[in-house]
């Protein structure tokens, strides 16, 4: 048996070496981020009244969908707040990190033929998978301990050692869960893209299911890894069992993937592919057609995904109405502005902004696809034929620009269709349509930034994700964390009017669009002047 795991230790050291930049970056940024937050939270709400109001607001089912159920709301301590605000988000970040790291060393290595080289050396058949998973486990354990002791060392009364260690352990357990899950998908799927795709789809779907479950059905929430781990009720009741159960499930998944690994051939998967066409369709006769064809399934999947996300947000709007009706405190907090708008409608505008930012993810993916094509030496096939650089970059840009309203339409239709079913006094489609469409200039600005980077700094296109991440954070958490106003003005989404509560300022929208056009023109000019890498 040990032969099948020969040289696992060496492979682990090798994995650590190849990731010697990536790993420390992930570890330090996630750990520091968490500790900085722990440091910040106690200063946010200092008086008892503040806390009460906050706790009342956090009972909002919409908040529950986004952040998970609030525990200890009756005595909303700093610790309870920390866990409620941050645990689920950090868990998602841990999941993303684990998926990316694991996919790189499993299916990606296999597809690129690196695994073949390793397997030709005296390594066991199961060693590469085991080494990758163990490396992921160790990384997560180290992060869990750093966060645990780090938070405890802040010395806040309500963030004690036991709770802090549990906080870290919950995140570590989720990380490990996604390490083995990605390992499993690496066995099931036939290629690297599918491995990452299925893993992320799993993450997103379980996040949404948890959201629906948290407001409507405890059982639904409990079958998802996120819902499960939130039941640790960190800093309130400190239950350790969800951590142990998650780890046991992870072990079982790992053993199962080892079994699958042992019975399949190198390069094969269990989800099979069918033979394709001998001749190309008419779509494949111009560069934009190729760009569309390559991203066809991705475009469809994201559109459906955003529709589902929209409708899952919409499904809680009914609960929201009831919640506002039942809470006197909330009613007092929101003065009647006399414009006849109810609380739900106000909330809808925030939801729509968040959906627009989420919708920017696929839109950016569609334009940045050109960059990944270049990295894989595939743009040279196009550019060495009678195709200009403008028409190549133009194709990808146009797809992204048009995808923006399509995606918006999908998410707002989703929101509307489920809102109609659950609300007594539903939001009008017209309102949602306006709210969705005013966000377009901001989404186009993001596309334009990507185009600019593709032209000017092709090796730095990742910055667009950082910027979108910043935007998401500021819009999502800005109010709750009392971030200064200017943080909001550093992103194009900060200039988008909140429909229906604010008036449309056409001038601002035109300026945003102009900025987008300007950035794109600069990007195109630079793209025409630079060397193509492949």
């Amino acid at each position: 048996m040990s032969k099948r795991f020969a040289n696992t230790g060496r492979l682990m050291r090798f994995a650590l070496r190849t990731d010697r930049i990536k790993l420390p970056v992930w570890v330090t940024s996630l750990v520091l981020f968490t500790i900085l937050f722990g440091q910040m939270i106690p200063g946010l709400y200092t008086t008892g009244i503040d806390r009460k109001i906050m706790a009342e607001t956090m009972k909002n089912p919409a908040i529950t969908v986004m952040l998970g159920p609030g525990y200890g709301l009756d005595n909303y301590t700093d610790g309870a707040m920390m866990a409620h605000f941050m645990l689920l988000f950090s868990a998602i970040a841990f999941g993303i990190m684990s998926i990316l790291l694991t996919a790189d060393h499993t299916r990606e290595d296999e597809e690129e033929g690196r695994l073949e080289m390793i397997r030709s050396l005296p390594t066991g058949a199961l060693s590469p998978l085991t080494a990758t998973v163990l490396t992921g486990v160790i990384t997560n354990v180290i992060m869990a301990l750093l966060i645990g002791f780090g938070l405890a060392s802040l010395g806040f009364e309500t963030m004690d050692l036991n709770g802090s260690l549990l906080y870290g352990a919950s995140l570590g357990a989720i990380g490990i869960y996604f390490v083995v899950l990605t390992g499993l998908f690496a066995q099931l799927t036939p290629n690297a893209r599918a491995t990452t795709g299925y893993s992320f789809a799993f993450l997103i779907i379980t996040y949404i299911l948890r959201g629906i479950g948290d407001v409507s059905s405890e059982a639904l929430s409990l079958i998802t890894p996120f819902g499960f781990i939130l039941r640790t009720q960190v800093y309130v009741n400190n239950y350790w069992w969800p951590v142990w159960v998650t780890l046991i499930i992870s072990t079982l998944v790992f053993v199962f993937s080892l079994y699958l690994n042992s019975i399949r051939d190198l390069g094969a998967g269990f989800i099979s592919t069918k033979p394709g066409k001998t001749y190309a369709s008419g779509l494949l006769s111009f560069p934009t057609g190729l760009a569309l064809r390559l991203q066809r399934s991705s475009i469809i999947a994201w559109t459906v995904g955003l529709f589902v996300l929209g409708s899952s947000y919409g499904s809680i709007l009914g609960d929201l109405e009831g919640f506002i009706e039942s809470s006197d405190l909330i009613k007092q907090m929101i003065p009647d502005t006399g414009d006849g708008l109810n609380m739900t409608e106000r909330f809808v505008s925030l939801l729509m902004t968040i959906l627009s930012i989420m919708g920017s993810v696929p839109v950016l993916l569609f334009v940045l696809k050109l960059r990944s094509e270049e990295k894989k030496n595939r743009t040279e096939h196009i550019l060495t034929r009678a195709v200009s650089r403008n028409s190549l970059l133009g194709g990808y840009t146009v797809i992204a620009l048009i995808a923006a309203p399509v995606i918006q339409l999908a998410s707002l239709s989703g929101l509307w269709s489920s809102a109609v079913m659950v609300m007594e006094d539903p939001v009008s489609f017209q309102t949602l349509l306006t709210a969705g469409m005013v966000a377009l200039p901001a989404m186009w600005c993001m596309v334009a930034l990507a185009v600019l980077l593709i032209g000017v700094a092709p090796n730095r296109t990742g910055l667009t994700w950082l910027y979108l991440g910043y935007t998401f954070f500021v819009v999502y958490m800005g109010d709750m964390l009392k971030l200064p106003d200017w943080t909001n003005k550093l992103t194009p989404f900060g200039y988008i009017p909140q429909i229906p509560t604010e008036e449309i300022n056409v001038f601002t929208l035109i300026i945003l669009t102009m900025i987008a056009i300007l950035l794109m023109v600069m990007g195109f000019m630079a793209y025409n002047k630079r060397d193509i890498q492949g």
Partner: protein, 297 residues
């Protein structure tokens, strides 16, 4: 009539000089061999010709047009096969061939079928399942199915089996017969010898040798294996003789091409029993330059 003219081409990547004053000329109806060790600058030169990379200085003109400014116009009459063919894993070989042909403009449908048949490619398979050789076939079929005037082939046969290499060589000859020009970069010197009219050797970004194969042969030495009735008295003292080795009953040595006449006169006076002369190969020439290179480093 020259199809490609490269004039004092220089390309720098940061501080590194990849090409340092490269000159090339490919004439109509000519097969031009472009050889050199790995990293010498072959692919960089080709990529500048294709307008993918921008020259730091110097000029590249194809069909009399500027390779950078008029790239799109030029590409309508060019077929290119890269050395490392990376394809879209989720498209089939057939789809990629059609795409490539259509993106260039015109193509010949019958020729496509014929080439698929000749290269024995299954066009309904997804590119992810193709081996290196099969991916190269896709690029070659797309190139030869199009009516280009200039074929730029960058190590196109590195993954092909000998049978397929033969078919490739036929395709190149067919193209030449139709008056097309071909620039062939290759490591397989026997292939270059078989096909090319002219050859340039590039090393460390500089063209170190250039001319027709016959011209180049004069620059190198002929290998002679000879057996004579009487032993030689002073062979090593003769001008232009190198590397004498005793092989069983015969003697092997190399002669500078220009001294060949004198040496033959000398050895014939010793009564030749058998004589074999091996013509200088491109490999000898290449190795000589390559070794010089190694000596310097």
């Amino acid at each position: 009539m020259s199809i490609v003219t490269v004039n004092h081409l220089t390309k720098k990547f940061g501080k590194f000089t990849a090409l340092d004053g490269v000159d090339l000329e490919v004439n109509k109806g000519e097969i031009y061999g472009f050889i050199g060790p790995n990293g010498a600058g072959k692919t960089t030169t080709i990529r500048i010709m294709l307008g993918i990379l921008k020259a730091t200085s110097g000029q590249v003109r194809i069909f009399g047009k500027d390779a950078w400014d008029d790239a799109v116009e030029i590409h309508k009459n060019i077929a290119y096969v890269p050395g490392e063919v990376n394809l879209w894993p989720n498209l089939t070989g057939g789809e990629v061939i059609d795409l490539f042909v259509k993106l260039r403009g015109s193509g010949n449908k019958n020729r496509r079928e014929e080439l698929i048949e000749r290269f024995q490619l299954d066009p309904s398979k997804k590119c992810r399942t193709y081996s290196k050789g099969n991916r190269q076939k896709v690029a070659l079929i797309a190139a030869f199915a199009s009516d280009a005037d200039l074929y730029i082939l960058d190590e196109p046969t590195s993954g092909l089996d000998p049978l397929m290499e033969n078919i490739f060589q036929q395709c190149v000859r067919d193209a030449k017969a139709q008056g097309k020009s071909i620039l062939l970069s290759s490591h397989i010197l026997s292939e270059v010898e078989k096909l090319c009219d002219c050859v340039s050797i590039i090393r460390q970004g500089k063209i170190i040798e250039s001319g027709s194969l016959d011209d180049l042969r004069h620059l190198t030495r002929t290998g002679i294996t000879v057996r004579t009735k009487q032993p030689f008295e002073n062979l090593e003292g003769l001008k232009g003789v190198y590397g004498i080795e005793q092989k069983d009953h015969s003697l092997y040595f190399q002669v500078d091409s220009e001294e060949l006449g004198n040496v033959m006169k000398y050895i014939s006076s010793y009564g030749i029993v058998s004589l074999e002369s091996a013509p200088p190969t491109l490999e000898d020439l290449f190795m000589r330059h390559y070794k010089e290179d190694g000596g310097k480093v």
